[in-house]
Symmetry: C2
Subunit: 133 residues, 2 copies
Protein backbone atom coordinates (compact mmCIF):
# COMPACT_ATOMS: atom_id res chain seq x y z
CA UNK A 1 0.00 0.00 0.00
CA UNK A 2 1.70 3.16 -1.15
CA UNK A 3 -0.37 6.35 -1.03
CA UNK A 4 1.63 9.33 -2.27
CA UNK A 5 -0.69 12.35 -1.96
CA UNK A 6 -4.26 13.60 -2.10
CA UNK A 7 -5.04 13.33 -5.80
CA UNK A 8 -8.30 15.25 -5.57
CA UNK A 9 -11.18 16.33 -3.38
CA UNK A 10 -14.62 15.80 -4.93
CA UNK A 11 -17.23 18.45 -4.15
CA UNK A 12 -20.93 18.08 -5.02
CA UNK A 13 -22.44 21.32 -6.36
CA UNK A 14 -25.83 22.26 -7.69
CA UNK A 15 -24.61 24.62 -10.38
CA UNK A 16 -21.19 24.10 -11.94
CA UNK A 17 -21.05 27.56 -13.52
CA UNK A 18 -21.74 29.40 -10.25
CA UNK A 19 -19.30 27.24 -8.32
CA UNK A 20 -16.53 27.70 -10.91
CA UNK A 21 -17.04 31.44 -10.47
CA UNK A 22 -16.53 31.11 -6.69
CA UNK A 23 -13.32 29.05 -7.00
CA UNK A 24 -11.93 31.39 -9.65
CA UNK A 25 -13.08 34.84 -8.54
CA UNK A 26 -12.95 34.38 -4.76
CA UNK A 27 -10.24 31.76 -4.18
CA UNK A 28 -8.15 32.72 -7.21
CA UNK A 29 -7.86 29.19 -8.67
CA UNK A 30 -8.07 28.41 -12.40
CA UNK A 31 -10.51 25.94 -13.92
CA UNK A 32 -8.37 24.03 -16.43
CA UNK A 33 -10.90 21.44 -17.64
CA UNK A 34 -14.60 20.67 -17.76
CA UNK A 35 -15.53 17.08 -18.58
CA UNK A 36 -18.68 14.98 -18.63
CA UNK A 37 -18.48 11.46 -17.17
CA UNK A 38 -21.59 9.89 -18.70
CA UNK A 39 -21.69 6.64 -16.70
CA UNK A 40 -21.51 8.61 -13.43
CA UNK A 41 -24.12 11.12 -14.66
CA UNK A 42 -21.92 14.06 -13.77
CA UNK A 43 -20.29 17.08 -15.29
CA UNK A 44 -16.98 17.88 -13.61
CA UNK A 45 -14.72 20.93 -13.40
CA UNK A 46 -11.08 20.74 -12.32
CA UNK A 47 -8.75 23.15 -10.50
CA UNK A 48 -5.17 22.47 -9.44
CA UNK A 49 -3.81 23.64 -6.09
CA UNK A 50 -0.38 22.33 -5.12
CA UNK A 51 -0.40 18.54 -5.64
CA UNK A 52 -4.16 18.30 -5.39
CA UNK A 53 -7.14 18.86 -7.65
CA UNK A 54 -10.49 20.25 -6.64
CA UNK A 55 -13.09 18.32 -8.66
CA UNK A 56 -16.50 19.97 -8.73
CA UNK A 57 -19.33 17.57 -9.55
CA UNK A 58 -22.72 18.60 -10.91
CA UNK A 59 -25.31 15.90 -11.52
CA UNK A 60 -26.64 15.65 -15.06
CA UNK A 61 -29.61 13.55 -13.82
CA UNK A 62 -31.53 13.80 -10.53
CA UNK A 63 -31.10 10.04 -9.99
CA UNK A 64 -27.31 10.06 -10.41
CA UNK A 65 -25.07 9.54 -7.37
CA UNK A 66 -24.35 13.27 -7.01
CA UNK A 67 -28.02 14.19 -7.45
CA UNK A 68 -28.94 11.78 -4.67
CA UNK A 69 -26.12 12.98 -2.44
CA UNK A 70 -27.25 16.62 -2.73
CA UNK A 71 -30.88 15.67 -2.11
CA UNK A 72 -29.89 13.89 1.10
CA UNK A 73 -27.03 16.03 2.47
CA UNK A 74 -27.00 19.23 0.43
CA UNK A 75 -24.03 20.61 -1.47
CA UNK A 76 -20.62 19.90 0.01
CA UNK A 77 -17.54 17.70 0.10
CA UNK A 78 -18.37 14.35 -1.47
CA UNK A 79 -15.18 12.27 -1.44
CA UNK A 80 -11.40 12.23 -1.05
CA UNK A 81 -9.17 10.51 -3.57
CA UNK A 82 -5.73 9.22 -2.63
CA UNK A 83 -3.13 8.63 -5.33
CA UNK A 84 -1.51 5.23 -5.31
CA UNK A 85 1.28 3.83 -7.47
CA UNK A 86 -0.41 0.41 -7.77
CA UNK A 87 -4.19 0.37 -7.60
CA UNK A 88 -4.74 -3.39 -8.01
CA UNK A 89 -2.37 -4.14 -5.18
CA UNK A 90 -3.91 -1.41 -3.00
CA UNK A 91 -7.41 -2.85 -3.51
CA UNK A 92 -6.19 -6.32 -2.64
CA UNK A 93 -4.49 -4.96 0.48
CA UNK A 94 -7.52 -3.01 1.81
CA UNK A 95 -9.94 -5.84 1.01
CA UNK A 96 -7.66 -8.23 2.90
CA UNK A 97 -8.06 -5.94 5.91
CA UNK A 98 -11.83 -6.28 5.87
CA UNK A 99 -12.70 -3.05 4.03
CA UNK A 100 -15.84 -3.17 1.89
CA UNK A 101 -15.17 -2.16 -1.73
CA UNK A 102 -17.61 -0.41 -4.05
CA UNK A 103 -15.38 -1.29 -7.01
CA UNK A 104 -13.69 -4.67 -6.75
CA UNK A 105 -11.68 -3.94 -9.89
CA UNK A 106 -10.18 -0.66 -11.18
CA UNK A 107 -12.37 1.24 -13.64
CA UNK A 108 -11.85 4.37 -15.73
CA UNK A 109 -12.66 7.68 -14.08
CA UNK A 110 -12.38 11.34 -15.10
CA UNK A 111 -9.12 12.37 -16.79
CA UNK A 112 -8.47 8.75 -17.82
CA UNK A 113 -7.33 7.67 -14.35
CA UNK A 114 -7.81 4.14 -13.04
CA UNK A 115 -10.01 4.48 -9.99
CA UNK A 116 -11.89 2.48 -7.38
CA UNK A 117 -14.05 3.49 -4.42
CA UNK A 118 -14.06 2.09 -0.88
CA UNK A 119 -17.39 1.97 0.91
CA UNK A 120 -17.92 4.75 3.50
CA UNK A 121 -19.31 2.14 5.92
CA UNK A 122 -15.76 0.79 6.22
CA UNK A 123 -13.96 4.14 6.27
CA UNK A 124 -15.59 6.12 9.11
CA UNK A 125 -18.11 7.79 6.82
CA UNK A 126 -15.59 9.11 4.30
CA UNK A 127 -16.30 8.06 0.72
CA UNK A 128 -12.73 7.18 -0.29
CA UNK A 129 -11.36 6.81 -3.79
CA UNK A 130 -8.01 5.31 -4.71
CA UNK A 131 -6.59 6.29 -8.07
CA UNK A 132 -3.61 5.58 -10.25
CA UNK A 133 -2.25 7.58 -13.17
Amino acid sequence: MNLTHIEHIGIAVKNLGESIKYYEDVLGLTCYAVEEVADQKVKTAFFMIGQTKIELLESTEPDGPIGKFIEKKGEGIHHIAFATTNLKEALKSVEGKGIQLIDKEPRKGAEGLNIAFLHPKSTNGVLTELCEH
Copy 2:
Protein backbone atom coordinates in the same frame (compact mmCIF):
# COMPACT_ATOMS: atom_id res chain seq x y z
CA MET B 1 -5.09 36.04 -2.59
CA ASN B 2 -2.39 33.40 -2.77
CA LEU B 3 -3.44 29.85 -1.93
CA THR B 4 -0.52 27.45 -2.23
CA HIS B 5 -1.90 23.99 -1.38
CA ILE B 6 -4.42 22.02 0.64
CA GLU B 7 -3.03 22.35 4.14
CA HIS B 8 -5.37 19.75 5.65
CA ILE B 9 -8.66 17.96 5.39
CA GLY B 10 -10.67 17.84 8.62
CA ILE B 11 -12.64 14.65 9.25
CA ALA B 12 -15.20 14.27 12.06
CA VAL B 13 -14.97 10.89 13.79
CA LYS B 14 -16.74 9.33 16.75
CA ASN B 15 -13.76 7.45 18.11
CA LEU B 16 -10.26 8.81 17.55
CA GLY B 17 -8.53 5.57 18.53
CA GLU B 18 -10.51 3.42 16.10
CA SER B 19 -10.07 5.90 13.27
CA ILE B 20 -6.32 6.23 13.86
CA LYS B 21 -6.19 2.44 13.53
CA TYR B 22 -7.95 2.62 10.12
CA TYR B 23 -5.65 5.33 8.73
CA GLU B 24 -2.54 3.52 9.99
CA ASP B 25 -3.35 -0.15 9.48
CA VAL B 26 -5.45 0.08 6.31
CA LEU B 27 -4.16 3.17 4.49
CA GLY B 28 -0.60 2.89 5.78
CA LEU B 29 -0.30 6.48 7.06
CA THR B 30 1.44 7.44 10.30
CA CYS B 31 -0.18 9.42 13.08
CA TYR B 32 2.51 11.92 14.09
CA ALA B 33 0.59 13.97 16.67
CA VAL B 34 -2.45 13.94 18.90
CA GLU B 35 -3.52 17.29 20.32
CA GLU B 36 -6.46 18.66 22.28
CA VAL B 37 -7.87 22.04 21.20
CA ALA B 38 -9.85 22.99 24.29
CA ASP B 39 -11.73 26.02 22.92
CA GLN B 40 -13.01 23.92 19.97
CA LYS B 41 -13.87 21.00 22.29
CA VAL B 42 -11.96 18.54 20.12
CA LYS B 43 -9.15 16.05 20.28
CA THR B 44 -7.27 15.88 16.99
CA ALA B 45 -4.94 13.37 15.35
CA PHE B 46 -2.65 14.26 12.42
CA PHE B 47 -1.29 12.28 9.47
CA MET B 48 0.85 13.64 6.63
CA ILE B 49 0.32 12.58 3.02
CA GLY B 50 2.25 14.54 0.39
CA GLN B 51 1.71 18.25 1.09
CA THR B 52 -1.48 17.67 3.00
CA LYS B 53 -2.50 16.62 6.49
CA ILE B 54 -5.45 14.49 7.44
CA GLU B 55 -6.83 15.96 10.67
CA LEU B 56 -9.16 13.61 12.54
CA LEU B 57 -11.48 15.40 14.95
CA GLU B 58 -13.23 13.76 17.89
CA SER B 59 -15.53 15.88 20.02
CA THR B 60 -14.69 16.08 23.71
CA GLU B 61 -18.20 17.40 24.49
CA PRO B 62 -21.53 16.53 22.84
CA ASP B 63 -22.30 20.27 22.40
CA GLY B 64 -19.03 21.08 20.63
CA PRO B 65 -19.03 21.87 16.88
CA ILE B 66 -17.86 18.35 15.95
CA GLY B 67 -20.36 16.69 18.28
CA LYS B 68 -23.17 18.69 16.67
CA PHE B 69 -21.89 17.95 13.15
CA ILE B 70 -21.86 14.19 13.79
CA GLU B 71 -25.31 14.30 15.37
CA LYS B 72 -26.69 16.05 12.28
CA LYS B 73 -24.71 14.49 9.42
CA GLY B 74 -22.87 11.50 10.85
CA GLU B 75 -19.13 10.91 10.68
CA GLY B 76 -17.37 12.23 7.60
CA ILE B 77 -15.41 15.02 5.96
CA HIS B 78 -15.92 18.21 7.95
CA HIS B 79 -13.82 20.91 6.27
CA ILE B 80 -11.01 21.75 3.85
CA ALA B 81 -8.18 24.06 4.80
CA PHE B 82 -6.22 26.01 2.19
CA ALA B 83 -2.75 27.31 3.01
CA THR B 84 -2.20 30.97 2.32
CA THR B 85 0.93 33.08 2.62
CA ASN B 86 -0.98 36.06 4.04
CA LEU B 87 -4.11 35.28 6.03
CA LYS B 88 -5.10 38.86 6.93
CA GLU B 89 -4.96 39.92 3.30
CA ALA B 90 -6.82 36.78 2.18
CA LEU B 91 -9.65 37.46 4.64
CA LYS B 92 -9.90 41.06 3.48
CA SER B 93 -10.02 39.88 -0.12
CA VAL B 94 -12.76 37.25 0.31
CA GLU B 95 -14.84 39.54 2.52
CA GLY B 96 -14.59 42.23 -0.15
CA LYS B 97 -16.11 39.72 -2.58
CA GLY B 98 -19.18 39.24 -0.39
CA ILE B 99 -18.15 36.04 1.38
CA GLN B 100 -19.49 35.61 4.92
CA LEU B 101 -16.72 35.01 7.46
CA ILE B 102 -17.02 32.93 10.62
CA ASP B 103 -13.77 34.47 11.88
CA LYS B 104 -13.26 38.10 10.95
CA GLU B 105 -9.75 38.02 12.37
CA PRO B 106 -7.15 35.24 12.40
CA ARG B 107 -7.12 33.10 15.53
CA LYS B 108 -4.86 30.30 16.77
CA GLY B 109 -5.73 26.77 15.65
CA ALA B 110 -4.15 23.34 16.10
CA GLU B 111 -0.37 23.13 15.59
CA GLY B 112 -0.05 26.87 16.31
CA LEU B 113 -1.29 27.94 12.87
CA ASN B 114 -3.16 31.19 12.30
CA ILE B 115 -6.56 30.19 10.99
CA ALA B 116 -9.97 31.56 9.99
CA PHE B 117 -13.13 29.92 8.69
CA LEU B 118 -15.40 31.05 5.86
CA HIS B 119 -19.11 30.34 6.24
CA PRO B 120 -20.39 27.36 4.21
CA LYS B 121 -23.40 29.44 3.16
CA SER B 122 -21.02 31.49 1.03
CA THR B 123 -18.92 28.60 -0.25
CA ASN B 124 -21.36 26.13 -1.82
CA GLY B 125 -21.73 24.12 1.37
CA VAL B 126 -18.02 23.55 1.96
CA LEU B 127 -16.81 24.65 5.39
CA THR B 128 -13.58 26.32 4.29
CA GLU B 129 -10.60 27.23 6.45
CA LEU B 130 -7.73 29.45 5.45
CA CYS B 131 -4.51 29.03 7.35
CA GLU B 132 -1.06 30.49 7.55
CA HIS B 133 2.09 29.02 9.07
